[in-house]
Symmetry: C2
Subunit: 396 residues, 2 copies
């Protein structure tokens, strides 16, 4: 019997070559059930001859373990997840676990498929950054089938699972409060805010409302921190300064930033809530020729490779991304090994506000000020700097 090099040998191929039933071949290779030593040898020889891969699943049928963890990234292209994956895989490797990575692209259907795929591949546990913190039934099912789940970057009130997060509300509150302390009262925010559920918004847009972080997406949490910083400081929130892109999309962030800079009363500061918003918004700021921090203070969520390479260097809220990934892996492996008696809990990691050169006290300008000539080659298109006789005055 010949098996083409183009086709992988299957169990029936092995059985045919060994002259036994497929079931017997399965028993011989899988190590369960009874099979004579002679048949076992024939099957093993046939498997070797055909280069048949006796996969580890056979072993896992008995032990229930494959020493593999699965990860569902929300966006595999984001530097945030890339860095977190490093933390996850370093810890996994140290503990003898392999890591299989999938991607949801922030899409619920893709996430469900990814979780299903990982379960099919018999991973021992799953780390997931859920695309929708309120739609997590598929993760509950995985748990129900004995596969532990650790949530990453996001927690959910609808899942009884460990989670490793930063407190997005608090981090944004800290960032925006700092801008307010610098005298800014017209602070823009550029955020994804893909799923603003009307009932939730009505709830959490009311000061004093008690909103659980487990019903908020990361961008919603950061918006809430932005709002609370305003409320606590007595600074009015201006709806035209809250810019929603509807997706983690650099181009959409660019367009929203352009629009907010073109307002009759443009902001004197902007809070950019994640790395993609930052890339798009920062391009728009550069293209508009707005001078940072003289005319616009910029504070961004996430410390990226290039934040110290631009001029001025960006002030940021830095998340301990690597450590968040590492901690999620540690928690998952502890669950897999069954060494933990405690119930699921949420680990909240601290962020750090790093003030570099892009944030400064507000300048109270009496009249229109065009960006001064700067040492970069691109000339500011003057027409795009909205002439704002009073717009530069805070609270104006």
């Amino acid at each position: 019997m010949t098996v083409s090099r183009q086709r992988r040998a299957t169990l029936p191929d092995v059985a045919a070559l060994a002259g036994v039933s497929t079931a017997a071949a399965g028993r011989a290779l899988g190590g369960y059930g009874s099979v004579s030593e002679e048949v076992r040898q024939r099957v093993l020889n046939a498997a070797e001859q055909l280069n048949y891969r006796a996969n580890r699943l056979a072993a896992s049928v008995r032990t229930g373990r494959t020493d593999t963890i699965g990860v569902v990234c929300a966006d595999i292209e984001s530097p945030f997840f890339a860095r977190a994956l490093r933390g996850i895989s370093d810890v996994a490797h140290k503990h003898g676990f392999s890591t299989l990575v999938t991607n949801s692209d922030e899409d619920l259907t893709s996430e469900r498929n990814a979780v299903q795929l990982l379960l099919d591949k018999q991973v021992d546990g799953i780390i997931c950054a859920p695309a929708d913190v309120q739609q997590v039934a598929h993760l509950a099912q995985a748990q129900g089938a004995g596969t532990p789940v650790v949530l990453f970057d996001r927690m959910s009130d609808h899942l009884d699972a460990d989670a490793v997060i930063v407190d997005g509300v608090k981090a944004a509150y800290q960032a925006v409060s700092r801008l307010i302390a610098l005298g800014h009262e017209r602070i823009a925010i550029v955020a994804e805010l893909r799923q603003p559920r009307e009932q939730d918004w009505a709830r959490f847009l009311t000061p004093a409302a008690d909103v659980s972080p487990g019903v908020l997406s990361p961008s919603e949490a950061r918006l809430l921190g932005y709002l609370r910083a305003h409320w606590d400081a007595g600074v009015p929130v201006r709806r035209e300064l809250v810019r929603r892109t509807g997706a983690y999309d650099v181009g959409a962030a660019y367009r929203q930033m352009k629009r907010v800079l073109a307002l009759k009363h443009p902001p004197t500061a902007v809070f950019l809530v994640d790395n993609l918003m930052t890339v798009g918004s920062y391009r728009a700021i550069r293209d508009s020729g707005i001078s940072v921090p003289e005319r616009l203070s910029v504070l961004a969520f996430d410390d990226l490779d290039w934040t110290v390479l631009v001029s001025p260097a960006l002030s940021v809220i830095a998340q301990p991304v690597y450590e968040m990934g590492a901690e999620a892996a540690r928690q998952l492996i502890a669950r897999i090994r069954g060494g933990r008696e405690d119930g699921p809990g949420t680990t909240v990691m601290d962020v750090t506000l790093i003030e570099r050169e892009s944030t400064a006290p507000v300048v109270r300008a009496p009249g229109p000020v065009l960006a001064p000539a700067r040492a970069h080659g691109r000339r500011p298109p003057a027409a795009r700097v909205a002439p704002s006789p009073s717009g530069a005055s805070p609270g104006g």
Copy 2:
């Protein structure tokens, strides 16, 4: 019988609950061999009751297909691979394939383990960026067992497989020739060059030598292009300007760049051969207060998010990264489906030289010139700008 929620139900659990042998339960769930309808129903009921996942492997035993492709990244944290993964998974998704991603960290042992893992998980094919283009026996074995392999970003003379690459020699030749055309004759290169095999180096450091791209790592290919551009233009190669980091490491690139800038005769231009070298080197240039492009032209491999955000905007060699990933996936899927009659081939994609603001004609300065004050907050530490009375003169 109760199965703890903490442990995944196994085939023996199902068999026990159904009151049949494990082999019979396997036959009933796997769909091979003979089993009575009554036993089949008992087993299926037990499986449902225990939330036992009848995994797709059972089907794959018959079809030899799992509709999953595996990817071995060389560095999952690199923006290059992150972008390529997007191309791969978009095409895979379109064709009904799921994607499982692993990482080798440019380490051969990790790569072998990753390939083994993917084979264990019964992927239908593998896209791999080999850590060592000369050590690929594990990939040949995968092919031998019927799992097609497509090489990504690197090709190998030791593997008869499809490959999707750019011509690193030609791209670097184009980049460095452009710098030479701008009058530069002291051009530094910062490159990984982890595995300089003495016998290869002796070969390819000789002008006229015919070196196959299939024995070169990406950084070796780019060094060769750098050398050939010099040879063809009659510009002498200066060994002190060839800086080797020994790893894809931002810190090492920073240190090498610092050292080359501190030479008595520093370079007037630098060619940075990949994105990690660029991040580290560019930081060193900034910290040294060297004015770009007035004192140093900078040309980098890979167009990144931030290359247009820095001042001056970086000139780059842009690779079609997304399309490279997409093409690798297309080729792999065609092999998996068996629709291709042609033998393995190499697809070479074109790069684009994008000249922005960081490259300029060489300035022939008569004496030491300190960087002019720039609009960024960090003051150039003057002591670090090597006083080079003649060093700025090309070829000096």
